[in-house]
Amino acid sequence: MGTKILLDKINIPGIKTYEVYRANGGYASVEKALKTLTPDEVTEEVKTSGLRGRGGAGFPMGLKWSFIDKKSGKPRHLVCNADESEPGTFKDRYLMEYIPHLLIEGMITSSYALGANLSYIYIRGEYMWVYKILERAIKEAYAAGWLGKNILGTDFSLDLHVHCGAGAYICGEETALIESLEGKRGNPRIKPPFPAVSGLWANPTVVNNVESISAVPWIVMNSGEEYAKIGIGRSTGTKLISASGHIKNPGVYEIELGLSVEEFMNSDEYLGGMMNERPLKALVPGGSSVPILPANLIYKTAAGEDRLMTYESLSDGGFATGSMLGSGGFIVYNDTACIVRNTWNFSRFYHHESCGQCTPCREGTGWLEKVLHRIEHGHGRMEDIDLLWDIQSKIEGNTICPLGDAASWPVAAAIRHFREEFEYHIRFPERIKNRDHFVNEPFEKVRNLV
């Protein structure tokens, strides 16, 4: 059993309520921080912990905090990014649904560190019932004196509210999230200026993921040094992994970073192996945006080392033979899955979610989807594979926000590792008419045709 930081109390009956949460040591970090630490000391602890942003980019959180503009004298804000929409990721929802006060506690402590007096939790609109859970939890926290004016008799005041989105993946991008919070369309802003200088209502703002903020109370209570002892190298601490796809036990797991992918996949404590004992075909280790890995690169890196659940090991080999830890959306595919169909599915997602602001993403995502749709439905041409490669390479890196990259990486990786499957689709349109074409006849069995 690895250390549990976020989920160690999740099984306590009634932990959703303020009383039970408080009785189990809840809100202690607020007491400790406000009474014994200065804001800079809290930031320092977070820096020492090496905690990296859990939303996907993996940027060191303490460093991000230290960028916030404290000199301008403008009000500062902390915004929690709970717009979890990356396909394959559902960890934040789990935290907020089952232990909402943990996030609120983290928000108070973090706001204190940043000197923010008005903070928001931006939750995606589809999680409406979680929105209500948080809203009630915030009311409880206000009633118990953890929010409002002069918390614990100190001169720190904080107003915390929850704000709901309304169905837009792009609002997970921090500047789009801020736009959306201002009541506008979720169009990402052009950076610089970064939110740390000019964010919400042009005030200095920090945007952090739910999981990152929820780890702060533990760090404050146990010190950043203790946190940094967990994990390997620059991948410190624990990470929530949302596992889905063709596995025995889908769900949310907290792992110590550094666990091997093989153990995570096959041990009964975690995923318990493949569903119906079918062979493993591919893995998307960090949410739909990251490159897909073929079976031979999942447990071992190209260099023959064990693949570990860390930021570094998963990206070992670059995009040629590696992937990314991303947001921890662990999607497993067995041999019945069709990679072409799956890539088309992802492309449809990005096409649907593109905000339409900049040219390469607006036009390119639609083009990718249309070409992939043709191939999957038996109207592909051989030159379409190169065309896809070319389109994705022209989107990548040329857009305002990372959605363009996220749309091109899955396509690039699918072609890189599964080109034969694309060729099969193009050469044998008759055999792929049925959408379950690989269920009865996995690709392995027909590979020799290509």
Partner: protein
């Protein structure tokens, strides 16, 4: 601060963007800009045509920037080195952006009033291919009527959002905006409101393509058949300095004066633009010059061209009285003042 673009050094004030610095140098190295408009706040960064390569970040941090940067929104740093036309990577990126802009574009230049003064046309000439790789069905939009002054042709739009910024910054009470998202994003009023207030006509001038055109000029002529003259009048609402586009003695169109980057020198009011079409309203200053290779220059001011008489009815329909009646323009006067819907 010192900046080097394609080997040309220039001193700039802090806060200058790379594009502005390039325009100060001038010439071929100026990146094309489809969405940036120096006179509109918050414009730029969207079309990605002006991408450049920053090979040296600054004197303090000489590392190159890994991604191509949008020059219109990237500020200069002291000692920065930028490659514009000198970089094959930039050339490749501009080609791809041009291709992306054109895949869903209707390519209807032959019937587009903007043809001849269209930034997208120019961009395609410079960076476009003569073939398309796009074999899917093009995206189209339902036509929308936005009043009797401005013609909206959404299929041609490249979503630079300049018109939205004009409405925000020049007029009071914006009624149109960007609706929907992704590749279905469109400029619309949503409820077909007429866009009509004193400065709304400037949307036409800032539109880089034929998405917003002058309804009172619709299908009247081609821009290269018109002779542009600088003209002015006393106007209590705007500067009154315009370009009038003449066909013979007739003023067919009035626009603001545009500089070499096709940006207006001063915004003008709708009265000047739409209501003053009589030569007597204006003091004509003289011919307006355009850049050397503009198609508008093909029209020679000095030459007294003989009047072309098109006698379609007489020659082509000779002896076919029935047909003559059907399409005769004498009996059914052709309405050209924009009452027709596309």
């Amino acid at each position: 601060m010192k900046v080097t673009i394609d080997g040309h050094e220039i001193e700039v004030e802090p806060g200058t963007t790379i594009l502005q610095a390039a325009r100060m140098i001038g010439g071929d190295l100026v990146p094309p800009a489809m969405c940036y408009y120096s006179k509109l706040k918050g414009s730029g960064g969207k079309c990605r045509c002006c991408l450049v390569e920053v090979s040296k970040g600054s004197e303090a941090d000489p590392r190159p920037m890994p991604k191509l940067m949008a020059s219109c929104v990237t500020g200069c740093m002291d000692g920065m080195e930028v490659n514009s036309t000198a970089s094959p990577r930039v050339e490749e990126a501009r080609k791809s952006v041009t291709e992306f802009l054109l895949i869903n574009h209707p390519l209807d230049c032959p019937v587009c009033d903007q043809a001849g003064e269209c930034d997208l046309q120019n961009l395609s000439f410079q960076h476009g291919k003569s073939q398309t790789r796009f074999i899917e069905e093009k995206r189209t939009f339902e036509p929308e009527d936005i009043g009797d002054k401005i013609q909206l042709h959404m299929n041609r739009c490249i979503l630079c959002q300049r018109c939205v910024q004009v409405a925000d910054q020049l007029t009071d009470g914006r009624v149109h905006g960007v609706m929907n998202r992704g590749d279905h994003a469109q400029i619309s009023t949503c409820i077909s409101t007429a866009i009509d207030n004193e400065f709304s006509g400037n949307m036409i001038d800032v539109c880089p393509v034929g998405a917003l055109t002058d309804k009172t000029f619709r299908f009247k002529s081609r821009v290269w058949f018109n002779k542009p003259y600088n003209a002015h009048r006393n106007c209590d609402k705007c500067c009154g300095k315009t370009t009038v586009w003449m066909f013979g003695d007739e003023i067919q169109r009035v626009t603001a004066r545009k500089d070499e980057y096709h940006e207006v020198e001063d915004f003008i009011c709708n009265t000047c633009r739409f209501d003053k079409k009589d030569v007597k309203d204006w003091v004509i200053e003289g011919p307006r010059k355009f850049e050397k290779f503009s198609v508008i220059n093909r029209n020679k001011y000095a030459l007294n061209a003989p009047k072309v008489v098109i006698e379609t009815e007489k020659f082509i329909l000779e002896g076919r009285e029935q047909d003559q009646k059907k399409i005769s323009m004498v009996e059914v006067p052709l309405k050209t003042n924009g009452n027709s819907k596309s």
